[in-house]
Each structure stands twice: as C-alpha cells, then as structure tokens.
Amino acid sequence: MSDFATLSDITGEPDGWPETYGEDAKPRMGFFTDTSICIGCKACEVACKEWNVVPEDGLVWTGDSYDNTSTLGANTWRHVAFVEQRKPLREDDRDDAIRWLMSSDVCKHCTHAACLDVCPTGALFRTEYGTVVVQEDVCNGCGYCVPACPFGVLDKRHLPRTEPSPDLLPIFGRKEDGRVWKCTLCYDRLKGGHEPACARACPTASIQFGEVDELRERADRRLEKLQAQGWNGAQLYGRDPDDGVGGFGAFFLLLDEPERYSLPPDPVVTTKFLPAMWRNTALAAAGVVAGGLLAFIGGRS
C-alpha cells in the first residue's frame, strides 16, 4: 500500500491499520471524555503520572482558575482544564448564574495522525489497537512531530537524561533527555488486558474507555439527552469520522466551543496536502535547475 493511498482521502480507517497487523489486529480502542460529568478532581492526571512514571512538571501557580498544569506536554499527558463563566449551565437556569467547566484533555489518537506521518525515524507508530505511540528507544528528538500535531499534544522533555549513555562526541552531547513524550493510551496496560490508568481512576466515568465505534454511539445518545435537557453549548468534538483528521480515537463532549478549552475548532492533519506539496517541491527543484542552467546563457563574464 502506498503511503499516499489514504492521504488523498483522509476519512475512514487509520493509514495502514488494521491490515498491517493481520491476525494480531485488535478492535480500535479509545476514549469518550464526557466533560458534563467531570468534577475536576485531577485523579486522571495523577494516575497517569503514577503509572507511566511521568516526572513532575514544575510547581507553578498560574491563577488560571484551578488549573496549574496549564497544558499537555512531555510531562503532562492528561490535563484538566478549568473554565469559569458567567453563563447558566442549562437554559432553565437563572441568567445571572455562573458555571465552571472542567475537561480532561489527552492525545486524540487521530485517525490520521500528523505526528506519526512526519516522524522520520518511525518512532511514532500505530499499534494493533489503532492508537498512536512513541517508541522511546527509537525517538531521536528531531522534534518534527511537535509542531506537526494540530493539538499541541507532544513536546520535548527538557529534563536531564535518565539512562546514562556516553556521548560519541562530547562537544555536541546535550545533557537533556531531548525526546518527545505523550499519552500511549497505556499501551502496556492494554496489552495486559487492563483499561488505561486515567480511566480506571476517574471516579465519575467522565473518561470512558472502549471500542471507538461503540463509544461513538454512546456519545450520540449522551448528546441527545443533554440537548433535550437544554444544556448550553453541548457538542461532540472529534467524534466525526470525516473531520480534518478523520475523527479522533479519543474524542469529547464539550459544553462550549473547543477554543474555550484550548482546542482547535477545525483541526486538519497537515499531511492532507502533502502530495500536492511534494509536486510543488519537485517543480521548485526543477526551477532551481532551470535557473542554474539559464544563468550560463550570456557567456563567461
């Protein structure tokens, strides 16, 4: 299968999955995070760090409501956003009411993952569960996936390296870890037949783990219910298989526009245009050749 096969049509299944796994392919697993029942306890953040031995992310008080981890990154794979609003939670509420939105963000495990597409080393790969995982022993810290992710999920770990490994050329050797890290959808736990640590810890089932197809149906039913009850701004985000990234493996029910939660309103996998870009690049290269040769018309001086 050519790498371009699905780039031209970015809806449907992830590139190369499940067929590349043949027998070993598993149903696609993911999350439905229902923020309407998130109590902002951050158990998911802590459970993730405990299980995956993610380092502390700095003791910075931000004043951004109760959010002091601020954003997803190399050292925060689950992040709970807090948004305080002068707006009633439901239409039937008093109009001077306030509400406090809480939402636990995570890697979206995109159907078409820019990070995975652009990774030059193959460190990022698609697991048999259809999830997107970084192989820490392969990642060389090139950093390409970082700006490639439409959601700003990945980041480089700037903390000192842990495993001691001699530098081939000491002059160049940086002491920091320098690799990128993100949610693995608890690949190791999945292999062991367990649900991810964050979902396990969530006391309210705001984080629901399961087969993506089944979760999508659940989400539709939930949205209907909330809309019937008149919840302001209730909407599904990333559930739709024909959005810009072919739908998320980990999608959400939000109570306001995505950007209020620091999420892009209309994300598109950057490699969607890559075929065209390559053609363009080749033409430009030809241009360079042309320029270089034309320059000789008109003699030596």
């Binding site: 029942i37 109590i39 902002g40 306890c41 951050k42 158990a43 953040e45 802590v46 760090k49 405990e50 502390e56 992310d57 700095g58 003791l59 910075v60 008080w61 931000t62 004043g63 409501s65 109760y66 002091n68 981890t69 305080e84 002068r86 939670l89 009411a97 306030i98 509400r99 406090w100 809480m102 006391p203 309210t204 089932a205």
Partner: protein, 850 residues
C-alpha cells in the same frame, strides 16, 4: 449543605452524579461556588455561619404550610409529647432558654424535661453540667432512658400549647423567607425553591437526604446545625428510610472508627462513659447512673463488663467490681484545645502526637506552636517530619524571633510511622462500614505501624512494672497483653485484635454474633459492644468484598456495618405504624404477618418478633419498654426527638446565633451568639471586636476556611508529594472582583490576610465563585482560605489556622473555623519581627491592648 462533596469525597460523589443523571435534584448551599456547586442542579450562596437561619426557615415553611408528613410525625417523633410547664423558649427570654445560669455559664436542663418525668439522656448523663461529656452525647451510638417505664404525657391532636409540636411552631414562627434572605444573603426565591424542593421530594413515595460535613460542624453552634437538619428530616419523614437521612461525610479514612473506639478523653469504646471522680469506687452507683431502664442502653452493664473482660481478662471479676475502683477518673475538660491552653501555662509536661499536625491543622496553630515550646518532651509519630515536629527550628515564630531554638527546652522525638498501605487493618467509614485492608508493601527503614508501637510500648511498660506494688500500676499489670505477632519486626496480628473487639463467649469459646449476646456476669468478652459480631462465625466480616452487581442494592455482603451489619439505622421507620411499607417504591423492612416477624432488604433495626401493635406492660424494662410502633429504639421513649429534653449543652431547639466573630448583629435576639459556647480569653487567643463594638471595621470581612481536592488537611501527606503539589502549588485566597477592586488586590498578585491572632500572605485568586452578599441591608464580602499550607514540604505557604481564634461548640469542643473576622490588604506580609508588630498595630487600631 456544609459539605463540598465533589472535592472532598469525590469517590462517593459519583453516586450523587448517578442520582442527578436519574433526575434527582442536587442542591448545594455554600458560601462559595465549588466543584460541587458546578455539578449541582442548583447552587444557593449564603453567608458562612448563617445555616440555622436557613434551616429554621425551612422548618417554618413546612409547619406554616402543613407540608409535614403527619402520620410519621405523630407516631414516630416526640411532637405530641408535652414538655414541663416550667420550660421557656428563646422567644420568651430574648435568646436564652429557661435554666440559664450566668454564673456557671451553662444551662440547668431540668425545665426542658418531658412533663412529669426526668428523661435521661445518653449514658453518662449524671455528669451533665460538667464540661466532660461533650462527645458522650455528641457521636451517635446512644440515646436516652426514662427513669421509669411509663410512656410520656401526649396530645395526639398536637394542639396542647406545651406539646413539642406547638413549641416548635412558636420557636420558628419568625424564620420567614424574608428573614432568611436578610440573614443569609440569599434571595427569597432561591430559599423558597429549596424549601419547596425538599417538601415536594418527601412523603410516602419519595425521600430526601442531607449531606453535611465540617462546613456545618465547625461552628460554635455546630451540633445545633445538624440538629436543625434532623428536625426537618423528622418533619418530612426522611429518617430510617432508603434515600433519606442525614449523611455525615466524615473525614480521615477512619475518623468514624476513632469515635466508635475512641481517641477521645471522655468515652470508652462503644460510647461508654469514662468514669468521673464523683463515682469513686462505687460501681453500682455508676451503673445506676448510666443504665437506662428502657431501650438498648438497658444492657449498659453487660457492655461494660464485657469490655473490662477484654481489657483485664481473668483479673476483672465480680468480686473486684471488674476493677472499677482502679480505673482512672476524669475530673475536668481534657479536650484537645483545653489541653493546649494548659500547655501554654506550663501545666503539661509531655505530649504524643500520632498522626496529627496541629502546628498547621488546629485552629490558632500559632498558639499550638508556642505551647509545644513549653513542653519537656514531644513525641511525633508521622510519615514525614511535619511542622509539628519541626516547630523548634522551622516556623513563623522562629522567623519572627518570637521563639528561639536555643531557648526551647522541648525534647522532640520523631518516630517514623508506616502508612495504611504498609499494614493490615480496618477503616470505619461514614456509613459505619468496617472495611478491611491488607498490607500491600513492607514498611521502609524504621517505619512501624501504630499497632506495633503501642503493643511493644505496652509490653515494655508491663515488663518494667512487673514487680511494682504501686496501686496506680495495678491496671497496667492486670492488662491482657498477649497478642500474637509475626514477621521479623514482630508486627502484632491485626485480626487478633479485631477478634477481641468483636468478642467471644468465655465458656464455649465461640465468637459472638451480636451485642444481644453480651452478658453482665463476666462470661463474655467484647472490646466494643457496637462492633460485636464483626468476627461472627470466626470470619472477618469486614473483609467481605462481594461487588454490588452480585447482590441487592443494599449490598449486605460488602464489608460489615455496626450495629449487626445494619445499613440503615432505625429502618423500622421505613414501614408505617402497622408495619407495612409506606410505599412500594420506598420499601426497606416490613412486618411479615404470616411469619410474624420483621423482614426486608436490610437487617431490621427492631426486635425481630415484636409486632407493630405491641404495647409495653407496666414496669417493662430495657427494649421491652418500647412499643411496636416506636422505631427509634436507642431512645428511651422509642421516638425521634424534635425537641431534645436532655443531652445538649446549648438548648433543646436549634436557634440562630451569630458566629463568635461576626460583622453582624443577631437580628432575632440581643443574645447575639451561643451563650454556652466555650471561649479562651487570653493574649494568644485574642478575639476580633464584633458588630457594633469599636474597631470592628479593622476586621470587616467574613473569612471561611476549607479544603481542596488536591491536598489533604494539614498537608503532611500531600505537600510532600510532587504529583499533588504541582496541582495546587501555592496558598491562595479567593476574593470577589469588587473586593479586589476595593482593596487594590491584583489577580495573581499577593495579599496579606490578618486577624487579631496573626497575619499570613497568599496569592490572590479573583473569582465570581465567591460573590459579595447583601446581609441585613449591608453589602458584605467573604474571603475564602484553603488551610492546607505550612512551612514544610515541596509547596509551602501561610497557614490559615494561624488566623483563627479558638471559640468552641460546647457539646463537642470543635473550633469555629468556618466563620471568622479578617482584614485584607494587597502585597506580601511583613517579614521577621515586623510581622508581630504589624499584627499588634492592627489590634491597636481596633482598640485592643498591645
């Protein structure tokens, strides 16, 4: 109300959300908009310290609109009972009940009695009038006994001017919706919405529950807050029924257990009273004083004797009065705060802190640190070196020079403790559920369990005193102290101790299956009568973990509940007087006419074969004196008490009093605060001037303290953990935008909060979640203070408790940490010795001595 369940009991809160999803209305009444409010279907903001006004308003609403559950009220509560004609209400005496003694500063409760008889409250009632009996009537477990078996005088029509029902009406007649709005700062509409919702959602078909925690208890009228809810729940018929009740969301994992098998000075396991000096040597007299001829407390002696057998085994005999004469006596208030005050006066030599960090966690923590400096020795058993162990070299007083390490004579011993994951044991939770947990990992280094510590400490002391002939050593020598140990550290076997608590029959050697089996002849051993049966059939019942989807929704096979694995207390009230469920929807236990016994989903909280129409014969004793349609079997009269004739220090009916420190006057009475509240007038514990007094404007705002999900209480377990510290890495105050404007506070900047006791600094969080309120026509601002921070750990910061003065509830000696008067100004606090100078300066401005 008075609970922030989503933040402080998040795992339990999942069921509240479950209920919300099924259409239940979830109401949160709180001074702040919290993570609980965010999940509730309705949030009502009130001023901290004004709940009795609110709840009293609900009571008045129910009574004036006849919304009460008539049949329930008439049969199951003491509404019809006629009260002694000498009784006078606060409405008659401008804020005082009859019997107030200004000299002693306490009530003589005789005029509150049922007409023509002396009702006899909890065990230990003879001691009434002595400050020692707080928790004896404070923590569940027990009720009262009548001197003699006759039922009290009643008026079934509820019309008699001195019947409880009419007294109730009169007492709350002025708690109108307008009064509530004025006093609490909420709107009339919001109040009525709540009152109606409660009434609408009660009756035969439906029930409502109150969840409270320390937002209610930590007031000088804390106990009366809960009483007010109890009155509502009785009027609406929500007690002893599924989905009803008053749910106390308790604190530390086994804080319930620590009152059942108490860490308190004045009660013994199962709420048996600690003998007082006035019973020196006289066992029968003691029993007579505490036994109540009717109700389950009629078996007081069996509970007592079985406990003594557990303590002293063969050494306790009929002949030696089960060693009663040798037992230590209490002669005064020995509660924690009182003891700290004694410490400040140098009257306490040594102190053991096991799992407590008062240098941060206790109110007026500064006074505590100063007090520790006066000790000869201090032992701290904790997971980490907490502030209380480090006060002598790391504390605000060391920084300010008020204490100097060189000058402190206290010898501090820090003994590392092992955590719950490192030992076997049980937690007793909010629902009286004993849940067993097993050791997951070995303790590190020198860390040892508390069990290990006390067992080996006792063992060594016994060794040292083995030969002693001293009278005071007799008990130590008599102690049964033969618990099996295992492992290289000789850890005592926790199950062996649970067995002793559950009890066995000495003659047959069989484990007991419940407290009715206890005997007063020394043939049974039981370490805590209410826990009797937790080791029934030699099985650790607390270790049962059958999931709820494999059994009824009552889940009787998950762990074990005291008493008798009963999940809902007084559940006979879930059936009508004839023993039929009030409704199919709400059935729990009922009378099976064929089988002629009580049955149902839960263990009936009633004698199995006592028919609904049972009428006690004259002179009946103990439980036999309780009629078949009186479900509240722990009460002498089998009824629940709308009006409490005995057992409370501060009145038979909840009354709105202002907090000890409050910028407002009591709109009802010239008696502004709880007259019986306990205060400590001393320089370390100065109080702010209250409304009307000069200088009140120096501390113009209502401060209230609380918790955050991300930290635990005094922080020893969380400020030391990176994954939690990063989630709330700094002490902050929550203020409303208007107050910020007015005081020049910048969001994200620093503020200094001060009281007459101290000043602390914190980051400023400006938020709409704590709006200003209009109270008694005046706009007031509240300042929210989390209390988790101290000088140690990964994240450090000002301790809210430095600000709080000690003013206590008279019944349980709990401090008023939920409402205090404070001032605030922009910027960081003064450093070094400038800090105490600043505090003194403010007090001067408030016209208080330097």
């Amino acid at each position: 109300m008075g609970s922030n369940m989503a933040e402080n009991h998040p795992v339990g809160f999942q069921w509240v959300l479950e209920a919300r999803e099924r259409g239940a209305e979830v109401i949160h009444v709180d001074p702040r908009f919290t993570r609980t409010s965010a999940m509730a279907t309705r949030w009502v903001q009130i001023r901290a310290g004004s709940d009795i006004a609110f709840l009293g308003g609900v009571i008045n609403h129910i009574l004036t609109n006849d919304l009460y559950f008539e049949e329930y009220v008439k049969h199951y509560t003491n509404a019809p009972v006629i009260i002694d004609e000498r009784f006078q209400d606060t409405e008659d005496l401008d804020g005082l009940f009859s019997g107030w003694d200004p000299q002693k500063g306490e009530y003589d409760q005789t005029s509150w009695q049922y007409a023509g008889m002396e009702v006899h409250g909890a065990a230990g009632q003879r001691e009434s009038g002595l400050k020692t009996k707080g928790e004896q009537s404070g923590h569940g477990g027990h009720g009262a006994g009548l001197r003699h078996g006759e039922p009290p005088e009643e008026d079934e029509t509820l019309q008699h001017p001195h019947c409880v029902f009419q007294l109730l009406k009169k007492h709350y007649s002025r708690y109108t919706p307008e009064f509530v709005a004025e006093t609490c700062g909420c709107s009339v509409e919001d109040f009525l919405r709540v009152a109606d919702a409660l009434a609408r959602n009660s009756g035969r078909e439906r029930t409502s529950a109150f969840c409270y925690a320390v937002g209610w208890t930590q007031h000088t009228v804390g106990v009366q807050y809960i009483r007010a809810a109890a009155v509502i729940q009785q009027l609406l018929g929500n007690m002893g029924r599924p989905g009803g009740g008053i749910v106390a969301l308790r604190g530390h994992a086994s804080i319930q257990g620590s009152t059942d098998i108490p860490t308190l000075y004045n009660i013994l396991p199962g709420y048996l009273p600690m003998p007082h000096t006035e019973y020196y040597g006289d066992f029968d007299n003691f029993v007579q004083a505490n036994i109540s001829p009717t109700g389950w407390w009629g078996h007081f002696k069996s509970y007592w004797v079985s406990l003594m057998k557990a303590y002293f085994g063969t050494h306790a005999t009929e002949e030696n009065d089960w060693l009663f004469a040798q037992l230590p006596r209490i002669d005064d208030d020995n509660s924690a705060y009182w003891t700290t005050m004694q410490m400040l006066d140098g009257k306490v030599k040594g102190y053991i802190l096991a799992g407590e960090n008062p240098a941060v966690g206790n109110s007026n923590s500064k006074a505590h640190r100063l007090a520790f400096a006066k000790l000869d020795w201090l032992v701290v058993r904790d997971l980490v070196e907490v502030e209380s162990a480090a006060f002598w070299y790391d504390s605000p007083e060391i920084e300010s020079g008020e204490l100097e390490t060189e000058q402190i004579g206290t010898e501090v011993f820090f003994l590392p403790a092992s955590a719950h994951t490192e030992k076997d044991g049980s937690f007793t939770n909010t629902q009286r559920l004993l849940q067993w947990h097993s050791q997951a990992t070995e303790p590190k280094g020198d860390c040892r369990s508390d069990l290990w510590f006390y067992f080996h400490l006792g063992r060594m002391i016994k060794q040292k005193l083995a030969g002693s002939m001293e009278r005071r050593d007799i008990l130590i020598r008599a102690l049964r102290w033969d618990y099996p140990t295992h492992g290289h550290v000789q850890e005592p076997d926790a199950e062996a101790i649970l067995q002793e608590i559950s009890g066995w029959d000495e003659t047959s050697g069989e484990f007991l299956d419940g407290y009715p089996k206890l005997k007063d002849d020394g043939s049974t051993v039981c370490g805590c009568w209410i826990y009797c049966g937790v080791f029934k059939d030699g099985v650790n019942q607390a270790a049962r973990k059958k999931p709820h989807w494999e059994q009824s929704y009552i889940a009787p096979e998950w762990a074990w509940a005291w008493p008798a694995n009963r999940r809902v207390l007084y559940n006979r009230a879930s059936a009508d007087p004839d023993g039929k469920p009030w409704s199919e929807r709400k059935k729990l236990v009922w009378w099976d006419a064929q089988e002629r016994k009580w049955t149902g989903l839960d263990v009936p909280d009633f004698e199995e074969t006592k028919p609904p129409d049972y009428v006690p014969p004259d002179g009946a004793k103990a439980e036999d004196a309780i009629a078949g349609d009186h479900p509240f079997i722990m009460q002498a009269d089998g009824r629940s008490w709308l009006f409490v004739p005995q057992g409370l220090e501060d009145g038979p009916l909840p009354t709105h009093y202002e907090p000890h420190e409050s910028p407002f006057d009591n709109p009802l009475y010239s008696q502004r605060s709880n007259p019986a509240r306990q205060t400590f007038e001393r320089p370390e514990n100065a109080y702010a001037p209250v409304d009307g007094e000069p200088g009140a404007e120096v501390y113009p705002y209502v401060g209230t303290t609380y918790r955050l999900t991300e930290h635990h209480t005094a922080g020893g377990m969380t400020r030391t953990v990176p994954y939690l510290s990063e989630l709330q890495p700094a002490m902050f105050v929550e203020v409303d935008p208007e107050l910020a404007e007015r005081e020049g506070l910048v969001h994200g900047g620093w503020a200094t909060v001060y009281s007459p006791r101290a000043a602390i600094e914190a980051r400023v969080l400006v938020t709409d979640r704590i709006k200003p309120l209009v109270v008694e026509g005046r706009k007031t601002h509240q300042i929210g203070l989390p209390y988790h921070w101290g000088t140690r750990g990964l994240t450090t910061g000002g301790s809210a408790n430095d600000l709080i003065g000690l003013a206590l509830d008279p019944n349980v000696h709990i401090m008023e940490s939920k409402a205090l008067s404070v001032g605030i100004r922009a910027g960081r606090r003064p450093r070094g010795e400038a800090l105490p100078r600043f505090v003194a300066e403010m007090r001067k401005r408030a016209g208080q001595g330097t």
